[in-house]
């Protein structure tokens, strides 16, 4: 609904908006958000939050770039190293959250700073560039008319949907997010599920980071700054409840598209980047607010019924 209104709004206010080229551009731009939002969807389904993914994206940028350029190794090894590290960071978040029962917000907030700092340390603060062409294909190549990042996003969403709907551990995410205690009393290993979810969040952030690196052709230690905000907004706009337990992967795709269309539209309308920040913040508030208001209304209706 919201998406449709926005598309109509932007196509009437900007003649460049409703062109095939521009729409393809929108999808291409959101690919990075889209890929990372799969992991974030799981995290928010659990009722948690992962603020570290921006830094994971930065670190992946630098690690992969360092392996390819400074160490001169094969891009394949760079990709592998980047994904192992990003998954490990997620796992670390998860294990601290599950075993020490520390609040998600603080744990991932801390790791945000830690790994942002590590990215700077590795590259000594300077960007790394000039990657092999084979690697750049990931971010810049096409299959037919479709950009490869878009294809990766579609595959990642398909896997994401498959995990949450078809696998048993995917269903645990819903059980745990809905009611942790009842889930545990149904024989679910809560700690294990939490570690898994944060690891997946790290992994998908890692994939997003690699696509970004290949697109930009330069590894920046601050590449991912602020990404957690956009990704969380995508997921929440996609109707995943911040209190956990409900939400669908297919709707998250819509959330991602809304953010894409919004950003693109604002650029076309020459809205300043400062103003864009204001708008995005307001959108996040509205999205979460709508969810909360709806919940309270349901609660009231229930009370009234009793």
């Amino acid at each position: 609904m919201f998406l449709l209104v926005m598309i109509i709004f932007f196509s009437t206010t900007s003649q460049n908006f409703l062109t095939v080229r521009n729409l393809m551009n929108v999808i291409k731009q959101v690919a990075i958000y889209g890929i990372a939002s799969v992991g974030m969807t799981y995290v928010i389904l659990l009722g948690g939050i992962d603020l570290s993914i921006g830094s994971i994206i930065s670190l992946v940028n630098i690690v992969a770039a360092y392996v390819m350029v400074n160490l001169g190794l094969n891009p394949f090894i760079a990709i592998l190293a980047a994904l192992v590290i990003s998954t490990a960071i997620g796992f670390l978040n998860g294990i601290i959250i599950a075993k020490l029962k520390m609040p998600e917000l603080i744990v991932t907030f801390a790791s945000q700073t830690i790994f942002a700092g590590l990215a700077y340390i590795i590259c000594k603060g300077t960007p790394i560039s000039r990657f092999p062409d084979s690697f750049l294909t990931i971010g810049q190549g096409y299959v037919g008319a479709i950009p490869i990042p878009v294809i990766i996003m579609v595959i990642v969403f398909a896997i994401g949907w498959f995990i949450s709907e078809k696998t048993y551990f995917g269903r645990y995410f819903y059980a745990l997010g809905g009611n942790e205690e009842a889930a545990q009393l149904s024989g679910i290993d809560v700690k294990w599920v939490k570690c898994l979810v944060y690891s997946l969040s790290g992994l998908f952030a890692g994939i997003a980071g690699l696509v970004m690196l290949a697109r930009a052709n330069t590894g920046q230690p601050n590449a991912g700054v602020g990404y957690e905000f956009d990704v969380i907004t995508c997921v929440v706009l996609g109707g995943v409840s911040t209190t956990g337990g409900s939400g669908k992967m297919s709707n998250v795709i819509a959330g991602v598209m809304i953010i894409g269309v919004l950003q693109n539209g604002m650029v076309l309308l020459n809205v300043s980047s400062y103003m864009q920040m204001v708008v995005k913040g307001i959108i996040l508030l509205i999205a979460v607010g709508a969810d909360c208001v709806q919940k309270q209304r349901l609660l009231k209706a229930k009370k009234a019924a009793v």
């Binding site: 696998t167 048993y168 009393l185 024989g187 679910i188």
Partner: protein
């Protein structure tokens, strides 16, 4: 007796909840300056009754008369203004504030916009001194023992000029020494003319403290007695003396088999002490006792949800030590918890998912769920225990209490549990569904399952159990075979005090 003798009168108080009558036309007269004890079994309506006095709930019908002033319902503020103070089992204290700040919480003494700590501490000191409580008002409440925290609550009520002090199970969290000091304070308050309503299930205390005793049963007023003219046996008779008129479905004779499915040997932990019991194949073992006797805590240990400190569990003769519910389920234990909505069912998920949740990993090949199998399992139990629903896709939160309970039961049947622990299996379930649950329990034991049934409903406990083990304050206080079931005996064992 003229009404001017009564500081507090409750007249024809009723409180209805949907489908439940918590209080049914209860009248109570409390005389000025007396210690009036209020007793009754679990769910007799004691707490509900005092909540109508404190303003925590509004009665559906009735009148509250305080010092001759009549009210239809109270608010917390109104009750405080009229000199009623309540010490709940859960204290209303802020741990990180000092005693003085707690005593004056919400009505701090101020100098302009600043809090006058010195004045507050001085006044608190006066109140504490007058009660013979030797603590410094500048101490943080979280640094106090439970006994002293309770004293702070009492001091708070006194500083608010409470004329009637209501105490809800005040001795329950205290050690023996602390109980003695609490009694001393209560005696002191009485000598100063404060009226006290004292709720307790420990009959010894009642006889030690009270002037008169009112007995409630099933939300109804039973009688009021002079403490000096009654005894424990008479009280117990009044507390439990109900007609047993519920009919329980009969089960096949000789269900109980020789084989012991489950045994606990001197198990301690989670508040329980050295609990030993055996459950045979095909047997319903009832676990009776008062609320807080440690029954749920014991079940949680069996199910691996809480740790035991010492003792052993045996399952079919083999020693087991489940550390998580997952391990317990694998062994063959299922728990139908007391709080269905918070602990039992995954309300936002479908019936089918709830039933299959514990066995999802077994139904999966390479992590992918075989939904065909899952559906046929759910279908099977929907039929077998007649879960009433238009579809298996229905979310559990949309089902009635009885059907939710059946879904939870189906979950354990699907997981092939051999020992089923029911914690208050029919709480909040309507009469028809109750009968269905009872019939199901019968079917289960006929099939050779072993059942541990925790119940606070005396009738249910006697109607369904083959044997009853009774806990009191975390220990086994007695075991009764079916032939010897009687209400008085059960009540007596349940209100036994632990000697420590």
């Amino acid at each position: 007796m003229g009404s001017e003798d009564n500081i507090l009168e409750l007249k024809h108080i009723s409180k209805y909840y949907p489908g439940v009558t918590a209080l049914d036309d209860v009248s109570l007269h409390v005389r000025r300056g007396e210690i009036h004890a209020l007793i009754g079994e679990n769910g007799a309506g004691k707490s509900t009754l005092i909540k109508t006095c404190s303003g925590a709930i509004a009665p559906s019908v009735g009148e509250i008369i305080i010092n001759g002033k009549s009210f239809l319902s109270m608010t917390p503020k109104l009750s405080e203004e009229n000199g009623i103070g309540v010490i709940y089992q859960e204290f209303n204290l802020v741990g990180d504030l000092t005693i003085a700040e707690n005593i004056f919480l919400g009505r701090a003494i101020r100098k302009g916009i600043l809090v006058d700590f010195a004045a507050m501490e001085k006044k608190s000191q006066e109140v504490l001194d007058s009660l013979n409580i030797k603590i410094k008002p500048s101490t943080l409440v979280k640094d106090l023992s439970v006994g002293y925290q309770q004293m702070v609550e009492i001091a708070k009520a006194v500083s608010q000029n409470a004329k009637v002090l209501i105490m809800d199970e005040p001795s329950a969290p205290l050690t023996n020494a602390e109980v003695e000091s609490m009694f001393a304070v209560v005696d002191l308050l009485k000598s100063r003319g404060v009226t006290i309503i004292y709720i307790s299930h420990r009959l010894e205390e009642i006889f030690r403290l009270s002037d008169r005793i009112t007995v409630l049963r099933d939300g109804q007023y039973v009688t009021t007695l002079e403490t000096a003219r009654t005894n424990e046996d008479e009280l117990i008779k009044y507390m439990v003396g109900r007609q047993l008129n519920e009919v329980y479905p009969t089960r096949k004779a000789d269900c109980i088999q020789e084989e012991v499915i489950f045994e606990a040997k001197a198990v301690s932990g989670n508040g329980d002490k050295e609990i030993s019991l055996k459950i045979h194949k095909g047997e319903v073992l009832g676990l009776g006792g008062l609320v807080g006797a440690g029954r749920t805590e014991f079940a949680e240990m069996i199910f691996g949800a809480e740790k035991k400190i010492s003792g052993e569990f045996y399952f079919k003769g083999e020693k087991i030590n489940p550390k998580t519910p997952k391990e317990a389920i694998k062994i063959g234990i299922g728990l139908v918890p007391e709080d269905r909505k918070a602990k039992g069912a995954l309300l936002g998920l479908s019936i089918q998912e709830n039933i299959n949740m514990p066995i999802y990993h077994r139904l999966s090949k390479a992590a992918v769920i075989d939904y065909k199998k899952a559906k046929s399992i759910a279908q099977k139990y929907r039929k077998e225990i007649s879960i009433k629903t238009p579809s298996l896709e229905q979310k559990v939160k949309n089902l009635s209490g009885g059907n939710q309970q059946k879904v939870i039961l189906a979950k354990w049947l699907a997981a092939e549990s051999e020992l089923l622990i029911f914690d208050e299996p029919t709480r909040g379930i309507d009469v028809g569904a109750k009968q269905e649950i009872y019939t199901l329990i019968n079917q289960l034991v006929e099939q050779g399952k072993a059942i541990l049934m925790i119940s606070s409903e005396m009738e249910e406990l006697m109607g369904m159990s083959d044997r009853i083990v009774i806990l009191a304050e975390g220990s086994v206080s007695g075991e009764i075979p079916r032939e010897e079931f009687n209400q008085e005996l059960i009540m007596q064992l349940a209100s036994k005090e632990r000697n420590n």
